[in-house]
């Protein structure tokens, strides 16, 4: 079994169009939640989201190639370029690409393309759809496009598990590199779901906040949708050391579980099981963890359940943990959530700064952990967990530690 390290990260998020810009905003406690700019506001009940701003596709792609790329793939490709450049890996030169995996999570895939095709067909009664509709909207498109652009010929696929898609993707990539099935991996998640269809569907569930996202506090009123992508380069510790690469963090374990219960109401015990499995897989005791990047959606149901699941997993050590939900800043990017949050976890492990839970007003007696309210905290974190719990009761937790 190999030790698996992260040597590159890239991100395009509502908080910034690179990983360093995103991390800087997270440290500043800046929230990107704002009125939606890309949809007719009068058609929406609340009309807020965390959108990726100032992203010009033509600055990154030739016009001809853009015909092939839904925004969900554009964001992923740009994040992957940044991650691969930072890692310093030359996939073509070192023959590493021959068995490098690409695993990219997404909740809904090419939703912009899907929405536009539906509008044409049903709204405009135009029976002709663009011939590249399918290759743009398929959920595996981001993974394929990364594999094509960088000539990565190992196992490549998408993982789809709603809000846990990214963590499931990163867990799969981690397992493949750890076991030697793949020599390296490019992994993460991407989502571009701020379409009229998706927004209306979320509105109908009545779980969206009308003001902003306030995880774990008494005044929380629901989640706020976001979008974006984050991508990482994983390789073995030996390979990274041989290359003299900068190691950003080590992935030490992954834990997954399924509630096998309610389709939306989360299970405390089974969420705890995913955290326990991640700790066991990492060979870490609860006392080794200093920070948890929580799923923390800001819904009435998630936050107290997650709090109890953390207490169940950590016992008395729960009170020593810093727990924050960065969704208060970048929104809930669904299938990209875990990947964007990994940028926060890596930042915390590297820089000794815990990103806060912003928009926090008053404590809720049902949520009684240290949520690092409103302001980042300087604190050394040796190891961390990153939680993602999806609709359908699908839980995926990553365990990481800083590089030695």
């Amino acid at each position: 079994m190999h030790r698996v390290v992260i040597t590159g990260m890239g991100a395009v998020t509502p908080l910034g169009n690179s990983a360093p810009a995103t991390w800087k905003s997270l440290c500043e406690g800046r929230s990107a939640i704002a009125p939606i700019t890309t949809l007719p506001r009068e058609a929406l009940r609340f009309g807020i989201a965390a959108e990726v701003r100032d992203f010009d596709p033509l600055a990154h792609f030739e016009e001809k190639r853009l015909i092939l790329l839904d925004r969900v793939s554009q964001l992923a490709l740009v994040a992957a370029r940044e991650a691969i450049a930072q890692s310093g890996v030359d996939f073509s030169h070192e023959d590493l690409g021959e068995n490098t995996a690409v695993v990219i999570g997404t909740g809904v895939g090419g939703e912009q393309t899907h929405d536009a095709a539906s509008r044409r067909l049903y709204g405009e009664n135009n029976p002709r759809l663009h011939p590249l509709t399918i290759v743009r909207l398929m959920a595996n498109a981001p993974a394929c496009q990364i594999s094509i652009e960088h000539a990565l010929r190992g196992p490549a696929f998408a993982t789809v598990s709603a809000c846990a898609s990214s963590n499931h993707a990163i867990a799969q990539a981690f397992h493949m590199v750890r076991s030697g099935v793949a020599d390296a991996a490019v992994t993460g998640g991407t989502e571009s779901c701020i379409t009229l269809g998706t927004m209306k569907a979320w509105e109908a569930m009545r779980v969206l906040a009308d003001d902003t996202c306030r995880p774990f506090c008494k005044q929380r009123r629901g989640l706020v949708l976001g979008e974006g992508a984050a991508v990482f380069v994983l390789e073995t510790l030996e390979n990274a050391q041989r290359r003299g690469a900068v190691i950003l963090a080590e992935i030490t374990g992954a834990g997954m579980s399924a509630d096998a219960g309610d389709i939306v109401y989360p299970s405390e015990a089974v969420a705890a099981k995913a955290m326990q499995r991640a700790l066991a897989d990492a060979g870490l005791a609860p006392e080794n963890i200093d920070y948890i990047n929580a799923h923390g959606t800001g819904t009435p149901a998630n936050d107290p359940t997650e709090t109890r699941a953390i207490r169940r997993t950590f016992g008395a050590h729960a009170d020593a943990l810093a727990v924050s939900s960065t969704k208060s800043m970048h929104g809930h990017a669904l299938g990209a959530a875990g990947a964007i949050e990994l940028v926060a976890v890596i930042g915390a492990l590297r820089d000794g700064v815990i990103p806060p839970t912003v928009n926090f007003v008053d404590a809720d007696p049902e949520c009684d952990l240290d949520y690092v309210p409103n302001t980042a905290r300087e604190m050394r974190a040796r190891a961390a967990l990153s939680n993602s719990f999806a609709f359908g009761g699908l839980n995926a937790v990553l365990a990481l530690r800083g590089s030695d």
Partner: protein, 87 residues
Amino acid sequence: MSSAQETIFDIISKESGIDRAKITPEATLKDLDIQSLDAVQILFEIEDHFKITMPDRDPNFDTESVKGLIDTVEKLVAEQPTNPPAA
């Protein structure tokens, strides 16, 4: 029983699977042991039937009790502009 009440009782019974005889205006959806996912389906069916938009966590409206739902629907329906006759 008003026709709005009749319809709302029907919707609650159909969506939650509760015996219609057990539904009273005084009950809250919680009293009737209606889960949140059933509750949002009830609200959707009411909206779709009456062509209205039910308030979402608006403190000025009670959408937790059956009577609150009936009152809200009657108020919103009364406020609707009457449709001009079809040409």
